[in-house]
């Protein structure tokens, strides 16, 4: 049995006593809000405004038009499949990286982040080459729904691994030893002890992966294309922009936006729940949730 530090020191939660930096807080806060409003909020508000510019009825018509509806259904179904696949393999990979020892482990650990670093269009091109018509492996998935799933699995792989890994590192192994000494088998230990402890990380990772999958564009574009059966919502939006139906594009965008907001909110709820759970009793919650929503880490 390999020895692992069971507990890493938890980040200390200092509260600020002083004011930093030289700029007045009001001024600093104003600048931050101005930048966020100009760069993020105003553009997104423009989408919402466009979507409802011809009234609620027209918005609904656009969202429920056959092609829009089909693209939304396809996107949600593919994303759900992807999240299940990566939830499964991501947990295994996290377990291998924390509990197992094998040659090349540190390289594998670094490569996990590749989808965060590699441009999505490059991912699409390479997946098309590997699993397209000229596949050296003889597997042709190009322009099918399976291709969408594979592309989304590629881009969302790091989310679950990176969300589960730290929890596995911090987990108290004495509980497992205790369970084993009481006669619990491996599967029981996993189901009753490991899995419940990993659940917050797994849930947060899955929610972030789901959000990413819902909006993914580049990696799907070349590999799955945009034939009527493989048009995901992001490709549909692009097509609507190109054919001049801006209201239709904005309407479907609003649906995706709402989904993103819901998923982000659920991640922060999961996080708060996990923090409260760990620190049982302290009401010392930081105003800023620490990293987990922070994407690649």
């Amino acid at each position: 049995m390999e020895a692992h530090p069971a507990n890493l020191p938890a980040p200390s939660q200092h509260r600020a006593g002083i004011r930093l930096p030289g700029l007045g807080v009001g001024f600093g806060g104003g600048m931050v809000m101005l930048y966020l409003s100009l760069m993020v909020l105003l553009p997104l508000a423009a989408v919402a405004s466009e979507a409802f510019s011809l009234g609620l009825g027209h918005f609904w018509e656009q969202v429920t038009s056959p092609l829009a509806k089909k693209s939304l259904e396809l996107t949600v179904i593919c994303s759900l499949i992807v999240v299940v696949v990566n939830g499964f393999f991501g947990t295994i990979l996290a377990w291998l990286l924390v509990r197992d020892k094998f040659p090349g482990k540190s390289i594998i650990n670094a490569v996990i982040d590749l989808p965060f670093a590699l441009p999505t269009i490059v991912a699409s091109l390479i997946l098309l080459t590997l699993y397209g018509a000229d596949s050296p492996l003889g597997i042709d998935l190009a322009f099918t729904r399976t291709a969408i799933v594979v592309a989304l699995c590629f881009v969302t792989l790091p989310f679950v691994v990176r969300a589960v890994q730290p929890l596995l590192l911090e987990m108290d192994r004495e509980m497992e030893a205790a369970a084993a000494s009481l006669g619990a088998g491996n599967f029981t230990i996993f189901r009753r002890i490991i899995f419940p402890n990993l659940l917050p990380g797994l849930a947060a990772g899955v929610a972030l992966a789901f959000a990413r999958a819902l909006g993914e564009f580049g990696s799907v574009l070349l590999f799955a294309g945009g034939n009527p059966d493989t048009t995901v919502s992001s490709v549909f939006i692009r097509n609507q922009v190109e054919s001049g139906n801006e209201v239709g594009a904005a309407a479907v965008s609003v649906v995706l936006l709402a989904a993103s907001l819901l998923l982000l909110a659920s991640v922060s709820l999961i996080q708060r729940w996990a923090i409260r759970h760990d620190r049982g009793g302290t009401d010392f919650l930081p105003t800023v949730a620490p990293d987990a929503a922070g994407g690649p880490k």
């Binding site: 553009p43 490569v111 670093a117 490059v122 091109l125 907001l261």
Partner: protein, 266 residues
């Protein structure tokens, strides 16, 4: 859980097999495909006027968007961690949006804001071209890469606490001196990590930039757009050549991430 040998090998087979099929073989494929016909054709494509222009434009995006988001990121992180404010939960929520919003929606949002009939359409009437030119692409790059520096700096700031800063102030340092001599050196690796992620995201951004740029050859094409155009024009060698450049940049990013992670932990 000490897995018995059989289940341990089973897990290795599943996990590493999945990783190999999904990540490792594709990574090797880029190199193989690019040099399938020798080093000449991909090199010609990347060093063609359009290819070089795309590379330059990608670098220009980095040079503008990364410093802006870094300064904003540090300031915003300080505000979130060191100052209690009613605005903090709002800022915290908005910061995360670019992670969760589709790049295409981000592109569309700028397209609608600055395009004909948009709230900022008057800029175009004044002769300041935003869409289908560099400013629009810069705005898209800033939007998609906005959260990284904030997200990487916030936990470091929380961790270092305020003891040293207070000591500095007690000894008479003003706020700016405290920031420059105490805070900044302690958060530098976290910030650097954020900068690396921001740069990678800006270099690789495709969806948002596609919508606002129009992807005009030799004018509004970054490297990822160049890859797509080359592929669409059946010049796959060119597409692979540019892809390889981007993949190498991605590998450098991974290397930098690992290096900085170690520095941060040390």
């Amino acid at each position: 859980m000490s897995a018995n040998p059989a289940s341990r090998w089973g897990l290795r087979f599943l996990g590493l097999g999945y990783l190999t099929m999904l990540l490792l073989i594709p990574l090797v494929m880029i190199f193989y495909k690019t040099f399938e016909e020798g080093i000449g054709p991909p090199l010609d494509a990347v060093t063609s006027p359009d290819g070089l222009h795309a590379l330059k434009l990608s670098l220009l995006m980095v040079v503008i968007a990364v410093p802006l988001n870094t300064v904003f990121g540090i300031g915003c992180a300080l505000l979130l961690v060191r100052h209690k404010s009613k605005l903090n939960p709002v800022i915290d929520a908005v910061i995360n949006l670019p992670f969760a919003v589709s790049p295409v929606v981000i592109g569309l949002s700028l397209y609608l804001l600055y395009g004909t009939g948009g709230w900022f359409a008057f800029l175009g009437e004044e002769g300041i071209k935003i869409l289908f030119s560099v400013p629009g692409m810069v705005l898209a790059s800033i939007f998609v890469s906005l959260p990284f520096v904030v997200r990487e700096t916030v936990p470091v700031l929380q961790e270092i606490g305020t003891d040293q800063e207070q000591a500095g102030q007690t000894l008479g340092a003003n706020a700016w001196q405290t920031f420059r001599k105490i805070t900044l050196p302690s958060i530098r690796w976290g910030v650097a990590y954020g900068v690396v992620l921001t740069t990678a995201r800006v270099l690789g951004e495709f969806g948002a930039v596609t919508i606002v740029s129009g992807s005009i050859n030799g004018e509004t094409q970054t490297l990822p757009l160049f890859v797509e155009k080359q592929y669409a024009n059946f010049n796959s060698t060119g597409a692979y050549g540019a892809s390889l450049v981007l993949a190498l940049l991605a590998l450098i990013t991974l290397f930098a991430m690992n290096l900085l992670k170690r520095k941060e932990d040390a």
